[in-house]
Symmetry: C2
Subunit: 242 residues, 2 copies
């Protein structure tokens, strides 16, 4: 064809990290913002070449002719940050004709939710930083818009089981799950309403286990229900999407 369109990938990797400069200290991350609990952070990479040299951007790069889109996402993420999430979910493809100043670039964006321990694998330094996701602005290309969309999708299509599995772990109390949702949404949730919504969702189920500790009535632990149809596109079968 020779149509003059290039294909890139970018990744939005979200983790709930404590606020206050550790480990995130990226652009727009004002210490002390937020109510003090953990907030959604994402790794950004400083560009070392034009266009937008020295600007912060999402990790990413060009798709090689022989690799799949998801493989390109995994490779460029690992090359720039050292992160290797177990599963990347395709988020959206951005293709506005004017989104790059040096020619037409279509960018396929992948996303993943990772736990704070996994997030520590990102080699922070002069050119890689974790930023509070809501404060990440002034990024290269249309990456501000990409980040806004990733956050909008996470918050509006919120799925209790998936959030729990990716951000907490296999077993969790309903209070732990609610606190994670409060951090994601950045607002308080009514415990009784939250419990009803979670139970009606059918995406988490009670186990026979209870939280350990010295309490008189330790809270019951729940787990995410495996998605009945497989929650991932059939050909990506590697795991559950975010």
């Amino acid at each position: 064809m020779g149509q003059g369109i290039d294909v890139a990938v970018s990744t939005v990797i979200l983790a709930l990290l404590p606020t206050g400069g550790e480990p995130g200290d990226g652009p727009g991350d004002e210490p002390g913002s937020g109510p003090g609990g953990p907030r959604l952070h994402l790794p950004l990479v400083r560009r070392t070449r034009e266009p937008h040299r020295d600007c912060w951007a999402l990790p990413g790069g060009w798709v090689r002719p022989e690799e799949s889109l998801a493989d390109a996402g995994r490779r460029t993420l690992a090359e720039t940050t050292g992160l290797r999430p177990s599963y990347l979910e395709q988020l959206y493809t951005f293709g506005r004709p004017d989104r790059s100043p040096t020619g037409r670039v279509v960018s396929v964006v992948y996303t993943a939710l990772v736990r704070s321990r996994e997030a520590a694998a990102a080699q922070e330094g002069e050119n890689v930083r974790w930023s509070v996701a809501d404060d990440a602005t002034g990024l290269a290309f249309d990456h501000d818009e990409v980040v806004r969309y990733a956050l909008w999708r996470l918050r509006t299509k919120i799925e209790y089981g998936s959030i729990a599995r990716h951000f907490i772990g296999e077993r969790f109390s309903l209070s732990q799950l609610r606190e994670v949702h409060e951090s994601v949404l950045q607002r308080r949730l009514d415990p009784a309403n939250f419990r009803r919504a979670v139970e009606a969702s059918g995406t988490v189920e009670p186990t026979d286990e209870r939280l350990t500790g010295g309490r008189h009535r330790p809270p019951r632990l729940y787990r995410a229900v495996p998605a009945p149809h497989g929650a991932a596109p059939p050909w990506e079968g590697a795991g559950p999407p975010a």
Copy 2:
């Protein structure tokens, strides 16, 4: 870059149409299959050039350098079928390195649900046909996989308000809504369970109106609740997604 990857768009347009050859009579559409009610159909286009000449394929084509991805989807759909749905939602981007025999092609796929009256705008003929979606196999490229994925997404991420709005209209009884879902899912649904699930979903709400007709207790009419956050990506704001 000159990376040798071309960018195409394809569209999966789904409509609930009566079975039995009217208006769908596409490849794989065996008259008499299904339980007799309406079934999901999609328009297919016969390819007039290589590769896969004479095979049926999803409507689509190359993205022009100056047009957005959604505009390319709208243009190629109108050019090949005459269809102009009010809103196209981006479904997924398919990019397996071997998906086209003549070079690397990344295809951004858009989808829309249309009512049967809108579907009639497709100029059926030798090279355009409506096919029963579940029976559409043997298509060009990886389009079998694309159709399977579109159906999987519609059926697993089913959203009562959206299905109602796109397939029925502004006002509907719960029985009408259930019948549409039965056609989409191709199985019977228990009326009481369906009513509970719909009411719990918060995506439809009762109106003060009732179905007209001579019945003693005409059923109440419902309507779709507008999505609180805007259900579409902010920059696409044209309307609600499928």
